[in-house]
Subunit: 406 residues, 4 copies
């Protein structure tokens, strides 16, 4: 089997696990709704991105694409995009460095895209700096959105931007259920633990914490939530979890998972109180939730008994205990498991597709600021997911619509 | 045992089941935080109200109280309040009629209360009409709040009002867990069904629907949600429930519970498609969610095989089936069970207490509109509930507080 | 509405909630499978019993019936049986005393029944003493079965007896799910507590304990199991419950439920360690699991703040706490709620019906001992319940049947 | 890092995840309870086996060990055992073939072991053929036990054998919770699916099926059980699962998992009725539950879109659908995930250790047949697991012990 058919296989697998985007493209490709629209895109060059780009192309768009990270492009995907997809100009170097990386962004902008889709905000920043004539943009990541909100505050945005992923659908399917599953998966894959007989502490009861706690409990673990917000703490308590201060949970729990967005959640005052053999990991975006720097200082002779598992010993002579850190405190679902599966990217990229179509029609009536995903599109995506699962719902009768207005 | 000690027993039982309000009063009674404050209150005259009034009195307040409904006063409670609580003027007639009912409101207002607490909005309306000099008010019910919002829109409010019960704590503890339990309780008490082997349809996945669905599932039922909002439908689906259109659920489900706030949710087109022996009930505030008028027309010879259970037969000759309506479509947790237990009223009245204390300090800086329960008070109540259950939570370190600001 | 139609209504309601027995009778009434068989029955005279007796009559049997307890007969049911059911001789006095009670048993035996169905074992004992010529018998209760096993050991049984309720179906539907629900129901009905925010200790993780724990957890409670058998303790632990010794659970749990079959499970050493306001109740058959005698000695001035709730104070001067006992330690689901619903009796009496039919054919090949419910009948009942719920299952292919034999 | 320290690391990791066996050895190593006892063992040469062998050695035993499978020995483990463990004679060839494999068994028997521990029954058969003088034996696998039961029936056993793994502890921790987790893990690892939004059919509701269904549901899936036994079907139904005949589940479920012990559970009549994109896998021991032979005939051009995932197309021209088979129908938790983790082997090998100690004392009083794990040992293991998790339980008072005897 040659490499061509391999790349085709990779694409087809991803496509087969992205049913919602398939539904959307089936709907919009007939009308060529994006006919002759020029899109500039800066995304990780993965098979899921190939599915998105192919979908947009089938809806009539002309696409210029460059990578969102100099290292994240996959060669097979590049091959596939070069050989198979019409209307796509791919600006990527086989051995990308930072210089070629930024040049590729410029080359995308040189094609004068009307709508810009970005993952990280770099392409948007360049477009704004170049005073490029752009109708609207979408942004995929939270950190990109934060940057753009800053620019918006300072009145520097030159076109409206939709934060494509700030939606109920994304929070439910990605943050809660997607990350909930892949975090536990990462823990099992790296350590081989049985979940059912473990005591697990989840730090943070936001969307990710809720998801992680739910999956862990669903697999039989006894889960305790550590929180700083009393309303989230009460919610956790009524959802059936124990709630307690981290300090008092250290000595009798087996696994600790940080999902807070904070830093030093598990820090220097905690480690020596841990139960012998405890396992620590982080499900948050940044690797600052567990104080790894301190750990490495504390025990310079730490070692890895298994790949992605580091064993530390506390340095108090009177009480020398060992415990384990997974994936060096980096986000465990990405490093220890596959991270976002095609099914989750299906939601993210369906969001992108709907946002692009929306901008192609409505951008002229929007102002130059960052928009959350419009509620209407959030509901539309919900409807598509329901349809994919064969789930029908009710609708209000005209009488009922007026009842609410009384 | 004489009637006096009976009323004392009733009061003590309610008080013993209202630990949060007890905590609050322990805190505020020393400082007499409401010292010499005059309160005008219009509430149902129940033991729980007696606990609230006693608490306010112990915090130093002078209280005038009249009933919120001509029929809801309980004689034992009146006796208790007359004999036992200092600083309370009780304006209530043993055989209240509408005329005496409104007169009692006037007598409360004649005492020139500085803060008015109402259940339904009648006392507020009177106070506004009388151009009474009032510092601020609180309102207990949704329907009262709606009325007051209307007045606020028209610029007619003459003092700020806190919608005491629009809080996360109330939604979680009353709407979701309180009503969830008491609705299922009402169904069991009236019909004696086993829940574990039933198929149950919950119409509406708002807070009440979520609570009812959760309890039913927790007791073993197979629960399907009927919804009109695709985002709530997706949430239900991911929460593990089946979701479907009511129409297709009629024939193979055993119990139907409406929790929508809508009218005619189960109506004339549905009844003859029901499964033989199906049970219908309503957990919504108004008795319009099931079209009872049509039912009574359809089968004039309906009868009650058990108290609070009405048996109807469909009138299609080719397919004559019977089904049951509980509590004539009126809210099943109040009519078929005890409704709000002291523990739930504990949350509502703690809300009231905190709102009154808040108004006593902050009203002068507020404008004449309806406020939601301030987030700070919502969190404070959460903290009190956590403390009651012996649950400690974490707090951010100074470094962590600045981390979020970066 | 006169009393006649009332008794008819009560019968019809019970019948409508006993679908399995209805299915059985539909099947057997055509063939009159019990044609001219004479049955002697000693059962509680309830509507559910009326449904059983009517079913047997429709299958062709001639029935003589007397009450299983001098006090348990309901007048309406007697009226109903007298007026409506063919082939039934009812031997019951309106004001039964122990003398008439035993005489009525003799009158049943005087009719020379071929099969005897008993609830308690009294009728069987009489039949054996009288050297009555009986083909076989069934027994409804555990205590009756125990007595008969004793007789069997001593070689004194004169006919084979089926312990009709010793079956998986009964254990699942009655002990686990039926009692699980009605026990929690009894607690809510008597005390009005919210379950979702409670810590509950279930003593004993047998069938009843499993059911009670499951329902309590399903309604949101945090449940801890106290056990003496390490294998049941491990099962509870892996089922997601906390497990601990009662001693250490007393101070921080809200509700204690005994389901052990033991005596003095909560006894004199425990009461003064309870949490202030704790609630105690018993789900076991006998009222010995909580040491009520000691309680009444300890606090002679105990009183009932609510019906079925008794308040006790500990008598240690340094630490005077109150706690509550429900239904005086008697089985809470019967005294505080309705106990066995028609749906549960449907299983018990379907067991009886199938056992009687079985005896009518097979008794001659059986020896004079106590039999458990034959597995084949247990499976048949399971199939009927599945059919009632519209549930189909698979069957083995002939190839698969031989595969197992390889 | 050299290979020596690598093998040491592998051993230490396994040991650190086998706390129960560590507890046992701590207890028995002081008394050298197996002092000078000669053990002959035939086991897979894994790190977990190294932990068992080391434990037995520390308890005083002299061990001869050979591999249970010519291919399953891991070189690092061999190195470790050679260099680190006293009192162990290891009979294994670096490149084992069947001839050397059987010779190694003979060499083990040549050491005249008093107790024989086997995994598969081969060593027992040889020992019996050689009329070896053996005190007793233990057997690890079901298939070995079945063989030995056959020999026992024919009166050919020459020493008593304990089926070490036929215990509640093994069924709970390995079959139910261990396999439940690792089966779902295998599915996620090979396919990357999100479980929460899937419809999953579990064929078979034995211990493994119960575990798989529980974990799948716990992660949010909608689970339906296909069963042939009506009592297991009812149990599944009351446990909250849907139950249905496989035939009717094919078209609208996403994932099918066989856990039956049967063959051709999903066979030629089923495949073309599957939902497009369905995923099939097997959690049973043998790869016969899904008819893979037919599949390969049906679609000779099947291919693997991902490792361990095979894509088949149905061959009906009018309805050409694709679906996926995981790990070619072989047991998905072993092939697609790590299978039995050290924590599960901890239970199995603790069973072995306790059985060996038991035999060392009691064998002389036992007869030459296959024994289930004695209840007393099952309970002892349960107590050790409870202790490991810091769980205390109650014990009966002397009065209570006599109460049961009344």
């Amino acid at each position: 089997m040659n490499s061509d058919s391999d790349s085709k296989k990779g694409y087809l697998w991803a496509k087969s696990r992205m049913p919602i985007l398939n539904r959307i493209v089936r709907k919009y490709s007939k009308s060529k709704i994006l006919s002759d629209f020029k899109l500039g895109m800066c995304l990780h060059i993965t098979y899921e991105t190939a599915v998105l780009v192919t979908a947009l192309s089938r809806a009539g768009a002309m696409i210029s694409l460059c990578p969102a990270n100099p290292l994240s492009s996959k060669d097979h995907v590049i091959d596939y995009l070069h050989s198979e997809v019409a209307n796509v100009k791919l600006f990527v170097n086989n051995r990308e460095d930072y210089s070629s990386f930024y040049k590729n962004m410029d080359r995308v902008l040189d094609t004068k895209p009307q709508i810009i889709t970005d993952d990280g905000g770099e392409l948007h920043k360049k477009a704004i700096l170049r005073s490029q004539n752009v109708v609207g943009g979408t942004e995929e990541t939270t950190s990109g959105v934060n940057r753009l909100r800053m620019l918006s505050k300072d009145g520097k945005l030159t076109y409206p931007i939709i934060a494509a992923n700030e939606s109920i659908m994304k929070l439910l399917l990605d943050n809660k259920f997607g990350t909930g599953q892949s975090t536990i998966q990462g823990i099992i894959n790296t350590t081989g633990v049985m979940v059912a007989n473990k005591r697990i502490v989840v730090c943070g009861y936001g969307w990710v914490g809720k998801g992680v706690a739910r999956v862990a409990k669903g697999m039989g673990a006894k889960v305790t939530i550590a929180e700083v917000d009393p309303l989230l703490a009460i919610e956790a308590y009524l959802d059936g979890f124990e709630v307690g201060p981290l300090e008092k949970l250290l000595a009798n729990n087996d696994i600790f998972i940080t999902c807070t967005g904070q830093f030093n959640v598990i820090g220097r005052d905690h480690f020596h109180k841990l139960k012998e053999g405890a396992i620590l990991c982080n499900a948050g975006h940044f690797d600052v939730e567990i104080d790894v720097n301190y750990l490495n200082e504390m025990d310079p002779s730490h070692f890895d008994p298994r790949p992605n598992v580091t064993c530390y010993h506390t340095n108090r002579s009177q009480c020398k205990k060992k415990f384990y850190l997974i994936t060096r405190g980096r986000v465990v679902n990405l490093v220890g498991a596959e991270g976002n599966s095609p099914e989750v990217m299906d939601i993210s990229f369906s969001n992108q597709f709907l946002a692009i179509v929306y901008l192609s029609k409505a951008a002229s009536k929007m102002t130059n600021r960052v928009y959350r995903m419009p509620k209407k599109l959030d509901k539309k995506l919900a409807q598509l997911v329901l349809a994919e699962h064969g789930v029908e719902i009710d609708s209000l009768t005209p009488d009922q619509i007026s009842y609410f207005k009384r």
